[in-house]
């Protein structure tokens, strides 16, 4: 049908009124294609942004967004004054900081070590297998974590033999961050190293030859050639990670936490989920969400600005 329209358009339809319209008319098929995608963005991205105003209103399902009365910053004052809210913010930051310290360097180390493996078959094998956990669902990864660390699980069986007692890993708040970070490394170390592999494989082989001629050993070659070669990538990835400092997805958190580990495990998004979806406290949780959205946007935006200043590869 579209095709028929088009051929008519070329030949028979009257010339449009002015040049501007003419130009737009010329591309009408492209605009037609954009209708569905733009509807998607309008409905599922911009409408929720419009809905953010319920954070400033006393929202009721029956009164709707427009009919609910304004209450100003009531909910903001409420949660900003709560000690628990700040604990949640702190948890969010800490989880990210720890993953910056412990998870971030891991893929780089893996890429550097694997690059030194001489057998290319072995190298490829390790590489391919290392991506696999990335494609497991969060539920499966958390299923492994929970069942491995359970009272009757293999980890406790070993501990029982070695130490003579078991540890309730998932019931104690102090273990939560370690569990979260370590399982995250297990799942993503391989996948996140792809980009570093690419940077390494882009290095001109002549550089290494020249270095060998100059008498550089393998470790010097890594230090003076490979590492400088991946530094721009590392910088970009680091900036990106800092940009997401206030974002911890609740997907994994709500699978791993429980009442006894909220102390360290509860993050902003899981708090919003509990208050909003489970507790149906829409206005309050939206107000908390606004905090995360706004601060998060500032972080990501500045990170992107910064990365385009640092290197030529801006993120978008």
């Amino acid at each position: 049908m579209l095709i028929i329209q088009k051929s008519e358009g070329r030949a028979g339809v009257k010339p449009p009124l002015n040049k501007r319209f003419n130009r737009i008319w010329q591309y009408r098929h492209l605009y037609l294609m954009l209708i569905a995608p733009l509807a998607y963005y309008l409905i599922f991205c911009y409408w929720p942004m419009y809905g953010l105003q319920i954070g400033f209103k006393k929202y009721g399902i029956n009164t709707g967004i427009l009919g609910s009365p304004w209450v100003g910053f009531k909910y903001f004052e409420e949660y900003l004054g709560e000690a628990y809210f700040w604990k949640v913010v702190r948890n969010t930051f800490l989880l990210n900081i720890y993953s910056l310290i412990f998870s971030f360097p891991m893929p780089i180390i893996l890429a550097l070590l694997l690059n030194e493996v001489r057998s290319s078959f072995y190298k490829k094998l390790v590489q391919s297998i290392s991506y696999l956990p990335h494609f497991m669902s969060t539920v499966v990864v958390c299923g492994f974590v929970i069942n491995f660390l359970a009272n009757s699980g293999p980890v406790n069986a070993v501990l029982d033999k070695l130490l003579g007692h078991k540890v309730q890993f998932l019931m104690e708040a102090r273990y939560f961050r370690t569990i979260y970070i370590v399982s995250g490394i297990w799942q993503n170390i391989g996948w996140n190293s792809i980009i570093y592999f690419a940077a390494i494989s882009g290095v001109d082989g002549q550089l290494y030859e020249a270095a060998i001629m100059d008498g550089a050993g393998r470790f010097r070659q890594v230090w003076h050639i490979t590492i400088p070669a991946i530094m721009p990538t590392v910088t970009i990835m680091l900036i990106l990670a800092i940009g997401g400092l206030l974002n911890v997805g609740y997907e994994k958190i709500i699978l791993l936490y429980n009442g006894s580990t909220y102390e360290t495990a509860d993050v902003i998004s899981s708090y919003v989920y509990r208050k909003g979806i489970l507790g149906a406290d829409y206005s309050y949780s939206t107000a908390v969400g606004v905090f995360q959205s706004v601060i998060g946007m500032i972080f990501i935006w500045s990170a992107n600005k910064f990365s385009s200043l640092v290197g030529e590869n801006s993120l978008w």
Partner: protein, 305 residues
């Protein structure tokens, strides 16, 4: 430490083939082997537990190979009506969802890849803005709610119909197709729709395959939309069933232990792992064949995302 090693290797021979270097090689190969073990062991463990007899599992005797191998657990799992329904739902959501993803992303990426399109800049800005800022969970939930699609397949496949990141990767790819091909097609009287379907998409098989896999795996693994928007049990995807059995089962395991029903718990542990195996098997099976497309996708995205 670095310096020490350097001295060690270059002190012995000139080109870094000294003793230190060889020691490092051995160490490295072993380290990478350990890394493989750690990566694969959980999967292997799930397989051997699910194939073992409950009594051996109870006694913690299973750690390297299955003991008293049996398929009994799988028979129970594959007959469980909630798992069968979950499987069916997941397949439907994955197929429908991925088709919508691909269609919507191509329809979005193609026009925006045409440099002459008036208004392209502003549309692009509006779209990229959604990567920085979003309404968040609750307002989105309320939108889905007021659309009346809660408890239907549409709540699963429509929110997230376009991943902006993937769309931009596609657009980047489309922009790499030479302008002369467009001109040639235009001269032959092709419309933009024809150009997209007959010229651009056939040239973009690599990126389409990559997107198909990214979106497909995403749907297969997703449980958040189901958690937020589905209440009816018979609509649950496999991941929700898995969550109820494997993750929340934790509590019931503790309870059954207190209750002393030991024979029940045996079945439960082997069952949990069998469900994990069944739900990940499709991905693990196709993985070796499609792995290179995933990597390609990351590479295309990282050149200029």
């Amino acid at each position: 430490m670095m310096k020490l090693k350097v001295k060690n290797s270059s002190g012995l021979t000139r080109i870094g083939e000294g003793k230190g270097s060889k020691v490092f090689d051995v160490f490295n190969v072993i380290l990478m082997f350990l890394f493989l073990l750690v990566t694969l062991y959980p999967f292997w463990y799930a397989i051997i537990i699910s194939l073992s007899d409950g009594k051996a599992v109870m006694a913690n005797r299973v750690s390297i190979v299955p003991i008293d191998m049996t398929f009994a657990t799988y028979k129970v799992v594959l007959r469980d009506p909630s798992i069968v329904t979950g499987f069916r739902n997941t397949i439907i959501y994955t197929v429908v969802g991925t088709l919508i993803n691909l269609a919507a992303s191509s329809l979005c990426a193609y026009p925006l890849s045409r440099s002459q399109l008036p208004g392209r800049g502003i549309i692009m800005k509006l779209i990229v803005f959604t990567m920085f800022f979003s309404g968040g969970m609750i307002p989105t939930y309320l939108v889905v709610n007021s659309l009346g699609i809660i408890d239907s397949i549409w709540a699963i496949v429509l929110p997230g119909a376009i991943s902006t990141y993937n769309m931009i990767v596609m657009r980047t790819f489309f922009m790499g197709i030479p302008e002369s091909l467009h001109e040639a097609a235009c001269l032959d009287g092709a419309s933009e729709v024809q150009i997209l379907v007959r010229v651009v998409l056939p040239l973009s098989k690599a990126i389409l395959a990559t997107m198909l896999l990214f979106y497909g795996v995403g749907h297969w693994n997703s449980y958040m939309n189901a958690l937020l928007y589905l209440n009816k049990k018979d609509l649950f995807p496999l991941q929700s069933i898995l969550r109820n059995m494997v993750v929340d089962g934790q509590l019931s395991e503790a309870q059954t232990q207190v209750g002393g029903g030991s024979s029940f718990q045996v079945v439960e542990t082997t069952m949990k792992y069998a469900v994990i195996v069944v739900s990940t098997l499709p991905i693990v099976l196709i993985y070796p064949f499609v792995q290179k497309y995933f990597v390609k996708g990351v590479m295309i995205g990282s050149v200029k995302g």
